[in-house]
Symmetry: C2
Subunit: 97 residues, 2 copies
């Protein structure tokens, strides 16, 4: 299975895409993120975990809070996937996904 499978699955959920866009503006704690949704904290925690497993975000504890921030590396790889589709026939060789 492609390494991009988890990130693609992670971004298929609108709540998680919104979280990503919030983190684009600034790093935030789990609690701050949860405040923006009509959803319990455990649900947001679950979504954050999926984003983390997909390596789309990084978490770091600072005291009582856990800060979440974007990890742009995998986003770059996803952009490459789309480029490969959008580009003319043939494209790069050795692509996995």
């Amino acid at each position: 299975m492609s390494i991009l499978n988890m990130p693609f699955k992670a971004l298929s959920d609108p709540t998680r895409r919104k979280i990503i866009q919030m983190l684009k503006e600034r790093d935030m704690t789990a609690g701050e993120i949860a405040e923006h949704f009509n959803m319990t904290k455990p649900s947001i925690s679950h979504h954050l975990n999926i984003l983390k497993q997909a390596e789309l975000v990084i978490d770091e504890r600072k005291g009582q809070n856990i800060y979440y921030s974007l990890n742009t590396t995998v986003f770059q790889e996803m952009v490459n996937w789309f480029f490969n589709i959008t580009d003319k026939k043939g494209g790069s060789i050795g692509e996995e996904d």
Copy 2:
């Protein structure tokens, strides 16, 4: 709900991503596509339908066959979504998703 929701959901499945990559190389009939998978034709038909609803592919009947081909428009919009994430803080205004 964002207009990108369906395409994101559509691309979260590895079978559908593989179909997209096959169609990048050349247009194919539903039957040709199905031959590449360990899956029944109705299952592939279901996946093609999801890709079609997401406007990632176009279908056109030619005689007994139905040819599928890429519709790159939505891919472009998805690339823009990723650019917006990858770019520096702020980014373009008026983004919906």
